[in-house]
């Protein structure tokens, strides 16, 4: 018995010394060119596939991937953040991407064996030791846009990122215009209208996106590509666009309830109009006007505020308190009313008289 124990102890000690030598003296070759030892590649890949299958959300978590603009937004982000490694459909991967180990799969191959829920998990979480990054924001909703795009890729109907027609305007405008349109008035309902926002508010929002106080993978990616001076010019340019007309998705059936809540508030919900208009008692460029903003964007943002997942500028603590008592029905009604209002600042339809 004693000899068995001594033999085992000697084996453990030898193994530990060998391991320490491999790590400490650099004996293991980490060369991507040299590749993995036989069997290691299979081991890692199988671990990855089984891990994704175990952790992906259930099929019920998949939202409506055919929502207008969703796949287009995903396409725009894919072009700036993902295409370098995976290539857009029809393009070839760069020689550099092909030299990675593991080699990133071509976009159409990458999605072959996965359902939307698996793709969502991979895009949101990333994959360790493979070069695949996680979604650059904590909020859970945005990665679905990429999944919507990848599903269109699978169907062979991948949207092309729209090209900006504008030639004038500040540096970086054509980049912003891919999603926000050069008019600042995107026709994708989840992308906010910028033509109705004051320059100060947009500058503060871009700064918050840039340093991570406000959470969005799309906008972290976008705001960090441009220098702070350019952000101010772009905010000023969009603020100067002529604003008019209602936003997308204003449901008239809900507008009256939204108007009542926004104008009068309740014992738990502050009156929205006091800061966000229309007819606000005093101008304050720190608060975004909401009349004419797209309903889908407003719903998402109010959800984030209520859930404590929305940051922003120095006044973000005010809105975090203001939104905490909102119900889903309140949020739907407020978004419907504000989206249905003309952007000029008139109250328009759904106005209620204050007692």
């Amino acid at each position: 018995m004693r000899i068995v124990l001594l033999t085992l102890a000697a084996a453990v000690l030898t193994g530990a010394l060998a391991g320490a030598a491999i790590v400490g003296f650099g004996l293991y070759n980490v060369s991507a060119r040299a590749g993995h030892l036989p069997g290691i590649g299979w081991l890692l890949h199988t671990t990855y596939r089984q891990s994704v299958r175990l952790r992906a959300p259930g099929p019920d978590a998949v939202p409506d991937l055919s929502a207008p603009g969703l796949a287009e937004l995903g396409a725009a982000h894919f072009a700036t953040a993902c295409a370098f490694c995976h290539a857009t459909p029809g393009d070839v991967q760069s020689a550099t991407a092909l030299s990675m180990n593991p080699r990133p799969p071509y976009v159409t191959d990458a999605i072959l064996d996965w359902d939307p829920r698996h793709l969502y998990w991979i895009v949101r979480e990333g994959v360790k030791m493979s070069g695949m990054p996680h979604w650059p924001a904590a909020r859970p909703d945005e990665a679905w846009a990429l999944v919507a795009y990848l599903e269109r890729v699978r169907a062979g109907t991948a949207p092309q990122p729209r090209a900006s027609a504008s030639r004038d305007g500040p540096a970086g405008l054509s980049f912003c215009a891919v999603c926000h349109d050069a008019s600042g008035r995107s026709d994708w309902p989840m992308v906010p209208r910028l033509d109705i926002l004051p320059a100060d508010y947009m500058t503060a929002a871009l700064a918050a996106y840039r340093d991570g106080r406000r959470d969005s993978g799309f906008m972290h990616q976008a705001a960090r590509r441009l220098d702070p001076g350019a952000l101010r010019d772009l905010a000023a340019w969009f603020a100067a666009r002529p604003a008019g007309g209602a936003g997308i998705g204003g449901d008239p059936a809900l507008a009256d309830a939204g108007a009542r809540l926004a104008r009068r508030g309740t014992g738990d919900v502050p009156a929205c109009t006091a800061c966000h208009g229309p007819d606000r008692p005093a101008e304050n460029a720190a608060f975004p006007p909401l009349a004419g903003q797209h309903a889908a964007y407003l719903r998402t943002q109010l959800d984030l505020w209520r859930d404590g997942a929305r940051g922003g500028g120095v006044r973000s603590n005010l809105m975090a308190k203001a939104a905490q008592a909102l119900t889903d029905a309140d949020i739907a009604a407020l978004a419907a009313w504000y989206a249905g209002l003309p952007a000029s600042g008139n109250a328009g339809p759904g106005r209620v008289d204050t007692p």
């Binding site: 009068r264 738990d268 009156a271 006091a274 008692p281 006044r315 308190k321």
Partner: protein
């Protein structure tokens, strides 16, 4: 102060302290000093928030009941202690069985039955005064976290909304209709009467009749969360004609800002969206989340009896709500510069 109390204890408790070691002695003396210090707190009962210093009919009844009970309890204690001494010190011997049995039946059954029945028949009718109707004025008080929403309603149907302060006409009986927003609170003005729970979704009713004019203090008497201890309010009892005059003023719209600083403050109030949560009648501010500020400058306190009503204290409150009142609903406006906060304070102070 503390040292003095300890010396007093040493003087009165030499026997108890002597047989122990020094360390035990010190600990025992500290404990005794603590008890004496708590007794000293009874001195605070002369103040504006005191059960034993009644300033209203209902509080007087309660004080009388308390003193009656206390007297009875002292007499009973003396009787029992005397009996104990008698059988253990003065007459240590066997007691005849008949004596012992009649002592148990008489002293253990009959005597307490009569005493308790007497006390019950004395005390039960006293509660009815809490149930008697008011003379007309109804004050609705809603417990919020952590402040008081107060609405006065006259028999003519006129309403005036206020907060964190109750004013009452002396010599008249006022009805209180109490409820609560999210959790149970308890409404208590010790100098004027008993406490009544405030329950969400339900209205409890009590009446109070202050006997004299003066300034008193009320306090939430049911633990209601992080800032329960900071949920108090001021109570002013006034001569009836002065009260009627005050109520007319309380129902009126706010006065416009009078000074340049106050006008700047009014601008900040509007631009920062304060009206989303607060009402200032006569202005676009119509919010209902927080206290009505129409006449906040004429109140005795802000923040539910937390700070006096000066421009500097108002500025301090707006800029530091979370520091002054843990978990408070009102967000902290620490992004405003000190000058702006002071202007805001001047505007609010001027809302007389």
């Amino acid at each position: 102060m503390h040292g003095g109390a300890e010396r007093d204890v040493m003087a009165v408790m030499p026997v108890a302290c002597m047989p122990q070691t020094n360390r035990q002695t010190a600990a025992a003396c500290r404990r005794a000093a603590g008890c004496l210090a708590m007794l000293a707190l009874l001195g605070a009962c002369e103040g504006r928030q005191a059960v034993l210093n009644p300033a209203g009919q209902d509080a007087a009844v309660i004080a009388r009941l308390f003193l009656g009970m206390l007297t009875g309890a002292v007499i009973l204690w003396l009787l029992v202690a005397g009996l104990f001494l008698y059988v253990t010190v003065f007459r240590v011997s066997h007691m005849p069985r008949r004596w012992a049995e009649s002592l148990i039946v008489g002293g253990g059954v009959l005597f307490p039955t009569f005493v308790l029945a007497g006390l019950l028949s004395y005390s039960l009718p006293l509660m009815s005064s809490q149930r008697t109707g008011g003379d007309g004025l109804v004050v609705h008080v809603r417990g919020e976290q952590w402040w008081w929403r107060v609405t006065y309603e006259t028999p003519q149907g006129n309403r005036a909304v206020s907060a964190n302060e109750v004013r009452l006409p002396a010599g008249r009986r006022t009805e209180f209709r109490l409820t609560a927003d999210k959790v149970i609170h308890s409404f208590w003005i010790p100098a004027l009467g008993g406490k009544t729970d405030m329950i969400p979704g339900r209205e409890t009713v009590m009446t109070l009749e202050p006997a004299e004019t003066g300034l008193f203090r009320g306090q939430c008497a049911e633990f209601c969360g992080a800032s329960h201890a900071l949920m108090a309010f001021e109570v002013e009892t006034m001569a009836p004609d002065l009260f009627d005059e005050w109520l007319r003023h309380a129902a009126s719209d706010a006065v416009p800002p009078a000074t340049e600083a106050a006008r700047r403050g009014a601008g900040i109030f509007a631009a920062e969206g304060c009206g989303a949560c607060h009402t200032v009648r006569g202005t676009p501010a119509l919010g209902r989340v927080g206290p009505d500020l129409t006449h906040v400058g004429s109140r005795h306190s802000i923040g539910a009896a937390l700070l006096p009503v000066t421009a500097a204290d108002l500025a301090l409150w707006v800029g530091r709500t979370g520091h002054l009142k843990p978990d408070v609903e009102m967000p902290q406006y620490d992004h405003l510069l000190p000058d702006a906060l002071l202007d805001l304070g001047r505007y609010l102070e001027g809302l007389k």
